[in-house]
């Protein structure tokens, strides 16, 4: 269509998603065309007609789209579409009850239609609470509750080498260990290992670097998932053809458009031909790294098996034997580790052991505390929202007491009245659910676009059936709560008393007591939320103030991996990087450049134990152990790392000259506290390496991680097939990318640039989860604060309304306005004081759950609490001040005449 559709029609097309696919795809265009024609026609008749048309279309969408969607989702076809079924309903007793309920619902709707502002505020308030719960629950459901995509996932475990004295580090396992664990212990039916691998895909189109995994033959069998297309590999690859590849679903769809003919095709991976034999199902993902897009066989060699037990580079997954629980497996592996240590005393630290962890537990361990805190927070927000709406209804209920009394006197049963109030609550709750679902959907989409980079698992989050069910249950519960709370007060109405006295609106003692209780609890709950947000905010500020130890500004980084076909040996690899360095330095804008094998904040790590010559570890003390980095000349300047002693590597340090190393200040301080580190020696077992310089410590995993000691070597002596390239500029680092790409292509046009990112971006991503919890908690706290302030305002306004006559008398008797103001303020503040007092006690008790989320702040940080109390008190004072000021303007004559 060449004519641009009006916004209304475009919105309508979007909203058509509410209809099931079947109807939308077949009739959607015609429906939109009909709305288009109707809109044009209505607009011609004027603005009001247009508005009315839009409202009608909206109603049509909601009613018919909702009904069709319900029918499609739950297989319930409301036959009303062709034949009304009212006849059958009228027949039964249950039908009569249903009819009554429907009548009450209609009554409630009419009541709300008469007071649209009241209804809108109530629905919006509940919608905020329900929406928050929907959004967070959908994340909890996807990340914590949804089973892992493997057969019987509860029987899957991982094995790790555990080093209590190295900050409780859990390391991978060695090939030698894998062979022993597979053959010895009886707790497991099958066991597989894998190692992450990045492969260059060349041949078709742009060369691409692909996150892959090399997984041992039993990998797919252990996980118990068959491919959706073709076959997976198994033990036949040992001694047979290991040049086969199994594709992930995402990669298959992206690169091959989901073509089933991909089976049998050959992919050039790192320059070697691999035959595609299978495609995994869409839900399948790698056990250890969800980025993995394809799997190739890992066939361990005798040489790899013969390396030591502490040559730890394999991630291990195992399936428990039927009838074996994880406790039994732990006991068996602990004994096994003890025997291994006794047989090989030289290999292991005295406290070394093997950890068995359930895969499900492992998969959620990182996010569980943060998510549970957030879930707790939204539940608090919902409680506050409920209290607010119950308050609103209470105000109205106290106005309705006389009406209720009249109806009771005329013979209405209390059940009838209860049902009517319940209907109101349910209507509000379910309308709140609609708003909540919309907010929840928006919230989830927002979260995904904000944070999918730093929290990739968010991609799995969706508003699925379980989330819808959760929202429905929450909103029903909410509806019952807000409906019944005011009902309790109203039903206690003393009929004759209420009729005789002519109860006025607001003159309802028991209702007011209930409302005060609500306000006090709202204030207390808000304080807890504010305190949580405050503590996280302070942690974030502390964290951002931590220096990474180098200058992250103006730094561009990317990764290059040399395929072994083209760069078969160390000479070729060294030669490539030797040639690349001057080319990178010549890129316009680059002020300095260097290489590094493992980049800080990029997610990878490489550690090793080593010997410090002249240092004897105690019997309970482990060997020296830390980060190992292979870098090159110019690296220290490019990263902006301070040189503290000696010198850094130069081009002169090469294969022919003596081996040299640079260490960080942590290492120098730990092993040579009062001596000069330069000239000392360390060893990795192949002869001594001389320390030529000391540099500052560079943070690695994150700003909040405990520092490890660091050892640097030069690629000219220890060549690597893959290195990160660092290029520094005084301007915008992103502007360098094109030039850097050209520089690499000038040497090898088949080499893709992988993981292109600025250093600042990497550091920001490392704080992504923390930032996300902070933002969410801050939003919840702000909502809570606003709701609590409204609650205080509402109650105080009612109090003033109730005391109008008394205040009038006081003013008539000569009380000055300041005294009246003080009177009302004192009453309000006593409420606030109780709320804040309870809130302080509660949140101090709760604060421990936040502990794991904090950095550099104690859970009971006094300044945070003082600030939070101040903010909450200030809002409460403002909320009280408005009705209090109104009280000072009471006209005594008017007030006295009112009776």
């Amino acid at each position: 269509m060449s004519v641009e559709e009006p916004l209304v029609v475009r919105l309508y097309r979007r909203a058509l998603r509410i209809f099931p696919r079947r109807i939308r795809c077949v009739h959607g265009d015609e429906m939109a065309a009909m709305v288009h024609a109707g809109w044009v026609d209505a607009r011609r008749r004027g603005r009001t007609a247009g508005f009315r048309f839009a409202l009608r279309t909206l109603k049509d969408l909601a009613v018919n789209g909702g009904a069709a969607r319900l029918a499609a989702t739950f297989g319930l076809e409301p036959t009303e579409a062709t034949t009304p079924h009212l006849r059958q309903m009228r027949g039964s007793r249950g039908g009569r009850g249903m009819e009554k309920m429907m009548r009450d619902v209609r009554h409630a709707l009419r009541g709300f239609a008469r007071r649209p502002a009241f209804a809108a505020i109530a629905v919006l308030t509940l919608g905020l609470g329900i929406g928050g719960n929907t959004a967070i629950f959908s994340v909890v459901s996807a990340l914590l509750l949804r089973p892992l995509p493997y057969a019987d996932p509860s029987a899957l475990v991982t094995l790790n080498h555990y080093y209590p004295s190295l900050n409780g580090m859990e390391a991978s396992v060695s090939a030698r260990g894998f062979r022993d664990y597979r053959s010895g212990p009886r707790s497991f039916t099958s066991m597989a290992v894998e190692t992450g691998r990045a492969l260059n895909l060349t041949g078709e189109g742009e060369p691409e670097r692909i996150a892959a995994a090399a997984a041992s033959p039993a990998y797919f069998e252990t996980l118990g998932i068959a491919p959706t297309l073709g076959r997976a590999y198994g033990r036949e690859v040992v001694g047979g053809d290991a040049r086969v590849v199994v594709l992930g679903y995402g990669f298959w769809s992206r690169r091959f458009g989901g073509d089933p003919g991909v089976l049998g095709r050959t992919l050039a991976l790192d320059g070697e031909p691999y035959t595609v034999i299978g495609v995994m199902p869409r839900t399948f993902r790698d056990v250890f790294d969800r980025q993995v897009q394809l799997w190739v066989p890992l066939v361990l060699t005798e040489e790899q098996y013969s390396r030591g037990y502490t040559n730890e580079w394999l991630s291990l997954v195992a399936r428990l034997a039927p009838g074996t629980d994880i406790g039994a497996a732990r006991t068996e592996m602990a004994d096994f580790a003890e025997r291994l240590k006794q047989d090989n005393p030289d290999w292991f630290a005295p406290d070394w052991s093997i950890h068995v962890t359930g895969l499900e537990q492992r998969a959620t361990a990182d996010v569980r505390p943060a998510l549970l805190v957030l879930l707790g927070a939204v539940v608090l927000v919902l409680l506050i929202a409920c209290a607010n709406v119950a308050n609103l209804l209470l105000t109205r209920a106290s106005g309705q007491r006389r009406q209720v009394a009249v109806r009771l006197a005329m013979g209405a049963s209390r059940a009838d009245i209860l049902r009517r109030l319940l209907a109101e609550g349910l209507v509000l709750g379910l309308s709140g659910a609609v708003v909540g679902l919309a907010l929840g959907y928006g919230g989830v989409t927002g979260l995904q676009s904000l944070a999918s980079r730093s929290v990739p698992a968010l991609a799995d989050v969706s508003l699925d059936r379980s989330v819808l069910l959760f929202t429905l249950l929450v909103s029903l519960g909410t509806g019952v709560f807000v409906g019944l709370m005011p009902a309790l007060g109203t039903l206690r109405t003393d009929v004759s008393g209420a009729l005789r006295e002519g109860v006025r609106a607001g003159d309802d003692r028991s209702g007011l007591r209930l409302r005060r209780t609500f306000v006090v609890s709202q204030l207390a709950l808000s304080l807890a939320l504010l305190a949580g947000a405050g503590l996280l905010l302070k942690s974030m500020a502390r964290l951002q103030a931590v220096s990474p130890g180098f200058d992250a500004r103006g730094l561009m980084t990317f990764y290059l991996a040399l395929p072994s076909n083209d760069y078969p040996d160390e000479t070729a690899q060294r030669g490539f990087f030797d040639q690349l360095l001057p080319l990178v330095r010549d890129v316009p804008g680059v002020t300095s450049a260097g290489f590094e094998s493992v980049l800080p904040f990029a997610g990878g790590w490489s550690t090793s134990s080593f010997t410090v010559v002249g240092f004897e570890p105690g019997s309970e003390e482990p060997n020296a152990w830390g980060d190992i980095r292979i870098v090159g000349p110019g690296f220290q300047e490019a990263l902006g790392l301070p040189l503290l002693e000696g010198r850094f590597f130069t081009e002169a340090d090469g294969p022919e000259t003596p081996l040299v190393a640079v260490v960080d200040e942590e290492l120098a301080r730990r092993y040579w506290p009062d001596e000069d580190a330069v000239g000392k020696r360390i060893s990795f077992g192949d002869g001594p390496i001389e320390v030529i310089g000391v540099v500052g410590h560079a943070a690695h995993e994150g700003l909040d991680a405990d520092p490890r000691v660091q050892v640097y070597g030069t690629y000219r002596q220890f060549p690597r097939a893959g290195m990160f390239v660092l290029a520094r500029t005084s301007g915008d680092p992103s502007a360098l990318v094109a030039g850097l790409r050209a520089a690499v292509a000038g040497l090898d046009s088949n080499l893709p640039l992988a993981r292109v990112s600025t250093m600042e971006r990497l550091i920001a991503d490392s704080m992504g989860e923390r930032k996300l919890s902070l933002v969410l908690l801050a939003v919840f706290a702000a909502v809570a604060l606003a709701l609590a302030a409204t609650g205080v305002y509402g109650v105080m306004a009612q109090v003033v309304g109730q005391r109008t006559r008394e205040l009038g008398v006081r003013i008539a008797m000569g009380a000055d306005r300041g005294a009246v103001l003080g009177l009302v303020m004192r009453q309000g503040m006593s409420l606030v004081a109780v709320g804040i007092g309870l809130g302080l006690v509660g949140s101090l008790a709760l604060s421990r759950v936040l502990k794991s989320q904090l950095f550099g702040v104690t859970p009971t940080d006094p300044t945070t609490y003082i600030l939070v109390v101040a903010v909450l008190s200030a809002s409460a004072v403002l909320a009280t001040l408005v009705p209090a000021l109104r009280a000072t303007h009471v006209d005594p004559v008017e007030a006295l005449r009112q009776e």
Binding site: H27, E30, M31, A33, R56, K59, D60, L61, N64, T82
Partner: protein
């Protein structure tokens, strides 16, 4: 699934009845059905797109309507429009509903009291 006995589907929803009566004479597309229904009922029955197409989808499922090619004498054929015709079962349904309504009016004695009603046979 079609239940072959029309009387089991009665009474028809007034909206559905209106749609079916429009289609008795000639197959039509959605927008014309809407216009016809609203015109014939004098605006008493309105068909918004959601209710119209939900009904059409259901009637197609129930074998009461079927999609047909555009009539040969159609003046402005728009390729995007789908045309719907009534099935024999649909016709039987309309007839059954019409006689039910007649019977209802007869029984209530209202029919003779209605102004302008002679002997609608």
């Amino acid at each position: 699934m079609t239940d072959a006995e029309p009387s089991r589907h009665l009474p028809l929803n007034p909206r559905v009845f209106a749609i079916l009566t429009v289609l008795l004479d000639v197959p039509s597309h959605g927008y014309r059905i809407k216009q016809e229904v609203e015109e014939r009922s004098g605006g008493a029955v309105t068909l918004d797109p959601g209710s119209l197409y939900r009904s059409i989808a259901k009637l197609l499922d129930d074998g009461i309507l079927e999609e047909v090619p555009a009539p040969a004498d159609e003046a402005d054929v728009d390729a995007r429009r789908r045309y719907y015709g009534i099935t024999p079962f649909g016709r039987a349904l309309v007839a059954a509903e019409a006689s039910r309504l007649h019977a209802l009016l007869d029984r209530s004695g209202l029919r003779t009291a209605l102004p302008g009603e002679e002997s609608a046979g």
